[in-house]
């Protein structure tokens, strides 16, 4: 009898389908994946080390550059954490503006993740549709904040500037456009037979494994765990938020959960625009000493900032726990194990929306 040779299959660090460098080492028998290991360290910048001893104006920008894709939420979480320490309450209009910018950022991040997935399973048409729709969101983000990616819109005590009515109107019409277009794309995704072949029943993550590895965000919500830090946030509670949960736990569920969350974000922005009353957007206030652990929901899941400040508002100690850490770990150690084909390695990996820059900081 011919002996089956076990092959160790490395993918990366530079791979056509990855936006970022990382190295997946898969132990395979034929096409069947026995186990996988991810090697990191390609984008380790030591952000937490740099942040120590710096005032908020510098740490705010460093926090934003933990991850370029979900930059707004890092800014948002850091600022709300230091605000909680010093007891600063932002004006109501500023709170709603923060939600609007954050949800726009979530939309572009989810659309980018779904673009990557569609591109990975070689459905390039849908991928380009989704990527072009993302540009509409980016335009709105630029219109409100003045920059496409690293917006630096949220500062302690409020936001940088107001959203005048003409820009709000343009935002509303863009939301209508996104709503109608995305409904079409989601129908393409749902009914595509080849998409179903590459997505349904592949890369299954069970609820138990997700709980043990502390999976978060759309990855966990697609496996039937209803966790979303937004339901604890007062502004989101005022907007009537409830998380999107699916139960299949495969690639398809994760992508659909993200599409559903984009629709949810559209509705959240609409209701925030309705509820917003004219008023000030900056309340002032200085950062004081204290320590806090603050959690918020990033596009990829729960984001934790654990920080200590001194009496002049400098950051003494900081630890950032980003959602990608948990999601990539559960992806590499649970989903990739027992993948039927080597071609599914990349699609499973991309479906968990990995962000290596977040993971390593």
């Amino acid at each position: 009898m011919k002996k089956t040779v076990d092959i160790s299959l490395p993918v990366g660090p530079v791979h056509p389908l990855f936006k970022e460098p990382c190295r997946i080492k898969c132990e395979t028998r034929g096409e069947y994946v026995l186990s996988a290991e991810v090697e990191l360290g390609y984008v380790k910048k030591g952000i937490e080390r740099i942040m120590r001893g710096r005032p908020w104006q510098e740490v705010m920008f460093l926090a934003e550059r933990v991850c370029g894709i979900c930059s707004v939420i890092h800014n948002y979480t850091f600022i709300e954490a230091v605000e909680k320490i010093s007891g600063i309450i932002p004006p109501e209009r500023a709170a709603y503006l923060r939600v609007i910018v954050n949800e726009l950022d979530r939309m572009q991040s989810h659309l980018l993740a779904n673009y990557s997935y569609c591109y990975t399973i070689e459905h390039e048409t849908l991928a380009m549709y989704v990527l072009n729709l993302r540009e509409t969101v980016m335009d709105q983000l630029e219109l409100i904040t003045g920059a496409r990616v690293t917006c630096a819109y949220i500062i302690p005590g409020g936001v940088r500037w107001d959203l005048p009515d003409d820009r709000a109107e343009s935002l509303k019409s863009a939301l209508d456009h996104i709503d109608s277009e995305l409904t079409r794309f989601v129908r393409i995704f749902e009914t595509g037979p080849f998409i179903a072949l590459r997505s349904k029943g592949i890369g299954i993550l069970t609820k138990e494994a997700a709980e043990a590895a502390y999976a978060v965000g759309p990855t966990a919500r697609a496996s039937g765990i209803s966790v979303d830090c937004r339901s604890d946030h007062p502004t989101y509670q005022a907007l009537g938020f409830s998380p999107v949960v699916r139960h299949e736990g495969d690639n398809y569920a994760r992508i659909m959960a993200r599409f559903d969350e984009v629709f949810q974000s559209v509705n959240l922005i609409r209701s925030a625009l309705l509820k917003m009353q004219p008023g000030p957007v900056r309340g002032g206030g200085v950062i004081q000493a204290g320590s806090i652990q603050y959690r918020m929901e990033a596009p990829r899941g729960e984001l934790l900032y654990d920080l200590v400040t001194d009496e002049y508002g400098r950051i003494l100690e900081i630890a950032i726990q980003t959602p990608s850490i948990m999601n990539i770990q559960v992806c590499a150690h649970e989903m990739l194990t027992d993948a039927e084909s080597a071609a599914d390695i990349t699609s499973i990996f991309i479906s968990s929306d990995p962000c290596i820059a977040c993971t390593e900081r």
Partner: protein, 125 residues
């Protein structure tokens, strides 16, 4: 197994463990095993891959509250589920041993201490 482009990852793993939350977890695991934090760090660097090390605080958060009193005192779920230092079967066996010793009349503290030594042997072997 030998890989091409393979590098010594120990320095990078140490950089991961330097972080504030990782430092707290290392001390906690050291306390569970009854050894110095430096020794615990060495065990973690040798046994875990980079991704597991990054995810250590979150996994420990999930595992910390699990299990009954004996399991919590031994930190079995921290060692099996969170860090994969010992296999789940070996962990259950260690717990069963300790419970047996307590039932056979040994004092609880001493039994726990013996269990801890047994687990450390298991990890080091």
């Amino acid at each position: 197994m030998e890989y091409l482009y393979e590098k010594d990852l120990r320095r990078m793993k140490l950089l991961i463990l330097e972080s504030r939350r990782h430092h707290a977890v290392t001390i906690e695991i050291a306390a569970i095993l009854g050894i110095k934090p430096q020794a615990a760090r060495k065990i973690l660097i040798e046994e875990c891959d980079m991704l597991l090390l990054e995810n250590l605080p979150a996994r420990c958060d999930a595992a910390r509250k699990k299990g009954n009193e004996i399991e919590q005192k031994l930190g079995i779920h921290m060692l099996t589920q969170a860090t994969h230092l010992i296999s789940p079967d070996a962990g259950q066996k260690a717990v069963a041993d300790v419970i047996e010793k307590i039932e056979s009349g040994l004092e609880k503290e001493i039994a726990l201490e013996e269990g801890r030594t047994g687990i450390l042997e298991l990890i080091r072997s």
